[in-house]
Symmetry: C2
Subunit: 302 residues, 2 copies
Amino acid sequence: MTANTDLLKKIERSLHDALLMGEAKNSPPTLQKAIQHAVFPGGARIRPQLCLAVASACGNDDANLSKAAATAIELLHCASLVHDDLPCFDNAATRRGLPSVHAQYGERIAVLTGDALIVMAFQFLASSGTRSPLRLAPLIKTIAASVGAPHGIVAGQAWECESKVVLKQYQKEKTGALFEAATAAGAQAAGADAATWRPLGEWLGEAYQVADDIRDVLADQKLLGKPIGQDIAHDRPSSAKDLGLVGAVQHFDELVFKAIHSIPACKGEKILRALVAKEANRLIPEAWFADTERPLHHFAAV
Amino acid sequence: MTANTDLLKKIERSLHDALLMGEAKNSPPTLQKAIQHAVFPGGARIRPQLCLAVASACGNDDANLSKAAATAIELLHCASLVHDDLPCFDNAATRRGLPSVHAQYGERIAVLTGDALIVMAFQFLASSGTRSPLRLAPLIKTIAASVGAPHGIVAGQAWECESKVVLKQYQKEKTGALFEAATAAGAQAAGADAATWRPLGEWLGEAYQVADDIRDVLADQKLLGKPIGQDIAHDRPSSAKDLGLVGAVQHFDELVFKAIHSIPACKGEKILRALVAKEANRLIPEAWFADTERPLHHFAAV
């Protein structure tokens, strides 16, 4: 799919530009390497893709700003992974098939790498907001709310330190919030209304979390590039544990269906639907459940 | 001094407002408590005081924005302390006479508290930039550069993970950068030129770091509210180690002298000079060196 390849190239280039901003000849070399390691090679870059796809659908009249918003969102996602992998949380030795940042560069550098990426996200956004300065504040508010307290990624992660957890809220904050921000920010960067686009991010974020739970139980370690069974090992909330495997897969399919049907009528509607369907099949491939009745046909034809 | 008391009250109120933004009835309670613990009770709040004093001197035509800049700077300072105290860095059990955040709430919550405070700083700034939207981007760039990579607090902290360190650069990044941002941001928030005000922050930041080294060797633990001798215990760079105690005190006095004399002619000049002199005496009291020849008389009369 050409559109996706172009989108991905644009995202990689922009991430590269953002990281350049944090580099200097006389800056501490290990931190510099660790920041690169945390961002490249990346995962599916689904959040920035979503952000750019929504911006496109909304006219994308400030391509520089939407690109910066998408990039900031991915930098914040990478930051959360680095801190999530820390010994005091998941103690994950690998990430995307490579050593995690703390495994490669030590715990101290991993803490600092996450911090640097959070700062860089807002710095890059501010550096790209010159053409549409009135859009900068709303964009920062949208993105910041999705990663901080009381209801962003940090809050989601903090539920892992509580004895009582509401699964839905935990999932919404830890994963859903940044998906929602990706669609809302994509709209805001293009001067469009954020609220119309929030449901897409919301449903997709929930689907993504359910997929993650399923993959944690099911998938081959090589495929994911990270240790599996982490949720059960760490006694974390998991919909695969709560609903059973088949129930969780059905739930996933329903969420993807809702996501696809939340996309408002617009120019980029078709590309967006295809992107979501493709991503759904990347997350929970049809082939894994060849012999199971799945409602995937709901969106297989979009 | 009434001016200072008013300034401090304003800062505490604004920090309180910023933290409210991160609170909700159904947010993870431990994180919420830990964020409060990280910010209240505070230290001397010298960075936000500096920021507001400079904004005042520059006319302060958007009091909401300068207050937000000062608040963001203090939140970022608090974040850096929380992460600095972590077991993998200083492993400090106390801070400002109380348990450090990780000692009180655990390592995971301490990592998340720092993250949340960094995000909150930019979020609060964006929320307060409505009256002068064109000032928001430059302000964020100034403040972000002073805490991130390649030359902000995070970079300074990352030098602690390197075998070769240039003391001057380490000090400049770990402490000086945020002081410089405090004066530059104070000016920018008031629509004034940042560059004119950077030297004040620069000299004062360097003085502060030297004072910290001196206090680390000298001061009574109760007075500082944190364990002493940490630099030597952790084999960190220290000017008290490099220059000797008397040399370090002389260096401190010279830096304060330069700071005071860098203040450009302006309406708030006198208040600023007094603030700096007062802070210098708070850091390294005359009484500690009653029988030593010190160049403190240079600014004792300002």
